[in-house]
Every structure is written in C-alpha cells, then in structure tokens.
C-alpha cells in the first residue's frame, strides 16, 4: 500500500501530494516521511552534482529536506505546481547557499581523484601507484572539476539550477521548462548564460569574452 502511494507521489499525483502537504503543515512527521521519500534520490543526486563528497551530500540532503518542510509550513509551495520542481529548486538553492558559506569560511570542497572511491568517512583512500595513470592529468581534471563546482555556487541560482538539471541530471529543456513554468527558450538562454558565467569565473580576472573566440577553440 505504502509502495503504491510512494509511486503515485513520485508520478506527481496532486491529490495525494496536497493531502500530505496539509498534514505536514500540521506537523505530521510520518506524512513528511511519506511525501519526501520518493524525492530523496533526486535530492541526493542534485547535492552530488554540487559537492561530490559524502559528508557534504548528506549535509545538503538534510538541510534541503528541512528547508522543504519549512517551505511547506510557510506556504511556499503552490498546489498547482510540481512538487518535484519545488523540491529540486529548494535543493539547488540549499546547495548554492552551502557553497557560498563554504567560500566565505574558506573551506574546500574535496572529492576523490576518480570522483567515486571514497571511504565511509569521506576520506580519499590510499591507492598503489599505477604507472599507466597520468597523475598530473587526473589532478588537473580534479582541480578543474572542483573549480567548476565552486563556480556553480557563484553564478545566479537560476542559471546554476538550469545547468544542473539539463547538463548534469540529463533532463530535457522541455522537461525543465515545464517544471519551472517558463518557455523552453528561457531555459536554453539560462544554460547559455550560465556557461558563459562559468567560463568567466574559471578564467583569470583579465579574461574577456573576446579571448574565447580567439583562443578557446584552439584547444
């Protein structure tokens, strides 16, 4: 029975969602559990796009879920809207806030060299030296990825969110446009503007868009 409800919530059944949202607003913990469970994978996936390490992903997930609950209390969610869109947006904004806070505190976002192999404490495990692996290349790639993730927290949230959903989560422009209730062209333009902003942030301060046309393609 619970599984059936979970599936219906995941599919966006407005009646069930509305009923549960009302219960959550009254402080019903079980209702919140039921409502958020189908979207926990989505929350973690978005958090992973921004952080790529266990500790931050878990923090971001908890923070995002608390924010979703708080948002429901404050009537931030409109019943006609997609709950999935609401959850993803709250999660992205939470992640962006966390990234900004980390930047203010001077903390670093760390990930393992291949982005996958972390132990349970989020530490990078020691690996025996493999001569076929170009360590410098891996480190450079890792550094660039970390810079890119940091930059995702610095560009305007709407652009960051559009990039994460379309480029990292693999959703179509039409799908994101539907979730955001804007035209498809708007999402495309947000992604393009976002990529331009990221490019600017990843380059030295004296970088201008002209450099892009002169030397960007020559890589």
């Amino acid at each position: 029975m619970d599984e059936l409800i979970t599936k219906r919530i995941a599919k966006g059944d407005k009646d069930i969602i509305e009923r549960l949202v009302r219960k959550v607003a009254e402080g019903d913990r079980n209702a919140f559990d039921q409502l958020i469970t189908p979207f926990r994978g989505l929350i973690r996936s978005i958090a992973w796009d921004y952080f790529h390490n266990r500790e931050d992903v878990e923090d971001c997930e908890n923070e995002a879920m608390a924010r979703v609950w708080q948002g429901l209390d404050r009537n931030m969610f409109r019943y006609n809207d997609s709950f999935k869109a609401f959850v993803s947006k709250v999660t992205a904004n939470t992640a962006i806030n966390m990234l900004r806070m980390k930047k203010r505190q001077g903390a670093d976002i760390t990930e393992s060299l291949d982005g996958k192999t972390m132990d349970k404490d989020g530490e990078i495990p020691f690996e025996a030296e493999d001569p076929s692996v170009n360590v410098e290349e891996i480190i450079e790639k890792k550094t660039r990825k970390e810079e890119l993730r940091r930059a995702l927290g610095e560009i305007p949230p709407d652009q960051s969110y559009a990039i994460v959903l379309t480029q990292l989560e693999g959703k179509s422009y039409a799908e994101v446009a539907h979730m955001e209730e804007v035209a498809e062209g708007t999402i495309k333009s947000r992604v393009n503007r976002g990529i331009k902003s990221l490019t600017r942030l990843l380059n030295p301060p004296n970088y201008s868009d002209d450099n892009e046309t002169r030397s960007g393609k020559s890589k």
């Binding site: 913990r29 919140f32 926990r40 994978g41 973690r44 996936s45 992973w48 796009d49 790529h52 266990r54 992903v57 878990e58 997930e61 908890n62 879920m65 608390a66 924010r67 609950w69 708080q70 209390d73 404050r74 931030m76 409109r78 019943y79 006609n80 809207d81 904004n93 806030n97 996958k116 192999t117 972390m118 349970k120 450079e140 550094t143 660039r144 990825k145 890119l148 949230p157 709407d158 990039i163 480029q167 990292l168 989560e169 693999g170 804007v182 035209a183 708007t186 947000r190 990529i195 331009k196 490019t199 990843l202 380059n203 030295p204 970088y207 450099n211 892009e212 030397s215 960007g216 393609k217």
Partner: protein, 212 residues
C-alpha cells in the same frame, strides 16, 4: 596548474559532461535511513533562527526577478481556488500586465505615426509630380491659332528649357509615374484601414483576455 590558462565554453561543457557521467556511489545513493530525526532537529534550528534567515526571501526573489525577465503572460498558473495568490504571483501578474499595456500603447503610437507618414508623404509626392510643368504639359507642340477655342495662354514657353524633348516622359516612365501616383493616393487609405483593423484587433483580444 597554469593560472593563466584560458578555459573556453567548450572546456566547460566538456567538464560538465564528465561530471554528469560520474555515477553516485551506491552507499551515497541509498542515503541514511534514519534521517528524519536529524531533519526535524535541523528544521527546529532553522525555525529558531528565522529572523536572520534570508533563504526564502532569496528563493522568492529569484523567482520574481527571473520570471519578470523571462516568463510569458500565459505561462503563469493561477493559484488554487482555496489559496491566496502569493506575492510572487501578484508581482509577476502586475509586471506582465504593465508590459502588455506598454506594448499596446507603443503599437498604437507606431500605427498612428505610420498613418501620418503615409498621409503626409503621399500628399507631398502627389502634389510634387502634378506641379511639374515639364511633365504634365506638352511643350509647344500645338501651333498657335491652329485649333478652334485654343487659348494662347496654354502655350508653354520652352525657350529657357534645354533640350525640351528630353523632358517628355517615355511610355514606361509615364506608366511608372501613373503607378506611383496611384500608390501614393491609395496608400493612406490602405494604411488607415490597416491601423483601424489593428486597433480593433487589439481591443477585441484585450476584451477576450479580460473575459478569460
């Protein structure tokens, strides 16, 4: 790592695709089953610090600013019947209504200006061509006194005109001139009719939208 390297948009896209292809480790994918207590605790903390918290203001501001920039009028959903419209919804509706009115005003102003241009331009051009004596009057081709009832004052003195024969329009030029005169005479009426149709269309569309 070279701090002065240039990262292109293609590099950024490539990095994004690399990140997109990295799968979440299974243990992270599954998440912590005992999350609820932590969430409840965190929510209590957030509620306690609500005064200094700008999260929801930022959340709404993003919505308002972005939607104000990009959203189409018909893409805003109305709030549910049992819910008050949110501030965000009201703001966007107001902004869109303002833009719609601006568009209507500008369309009317441009239409009226275009009509005036047609009217004034048409009148000036037509008058200009009618007043040209070399074009509209035959130059001394009639013998004085040769035609009964012919008024000698109609004779045009061409002594000061160089090569008088050259001012005679040939058949094609004459045809073009007639066409131009016709266009100039008709254009203001067509323009006026188009403007009236446009304004009527806008009014009807506005009325229909209001009824909806």
């Amino acid at each position: 790592m070279d701090d002065n390297r240039i990262v292109s948009e293609d590099d950024v896209r490539e990095l994004l695709s690399i990140i997109a292809n990295e799968e979440i480790p299974e243990d992270i994918k599954n998440g912590n089953p005992d999350y609820l207590d932590k969430v409840v605790k965190r929510k209590a903390e957030l509620d306690a610090n609500a005064e200094n918290d700008t999260f929801w203001d930022d959340f709404q501001r993003n919505d308002n600013e972005e939607e104000a920039k990009d959203v189409r009028v018909d893409s805003i959903r109305e709030p549910a019947a049992d819910k008050q419209p949110s501030e965000s919804y009201n703001n966007i509706t107001e902004i869109n209504q303002g833009r719609k009115n601006n568009r209507r005003i500008w369309t009317s102003v441009i239409s009226i200006a275009a009509t005036f241009v047609f009217l004034i331009g048409g009148t000036l051009l037509t008058r200009g061509s009618l007043d040209d004596p070399n074009v509209h009057k035959p130059a001394a081709t009639v013998e004085p006194g040769g035609t009964p009832g012919f008024d000698e004052s109609d004779i045009v003195d061409t002594s000061d005109v160089k090569n008088p024969g050259q001012n005679q329009p040939d058949s094609f030029a004459s045809f073009m001139q007639d066409m131009w005169k016709f266009i100039c005479r008709v254009a203001p009426y067509i323009g006026g009719a188009a403007v009236i149709a446009l304004i009527a269309g806008l009014l009807i569309a506005g009325k229909k939208k209001q009824q909806q």
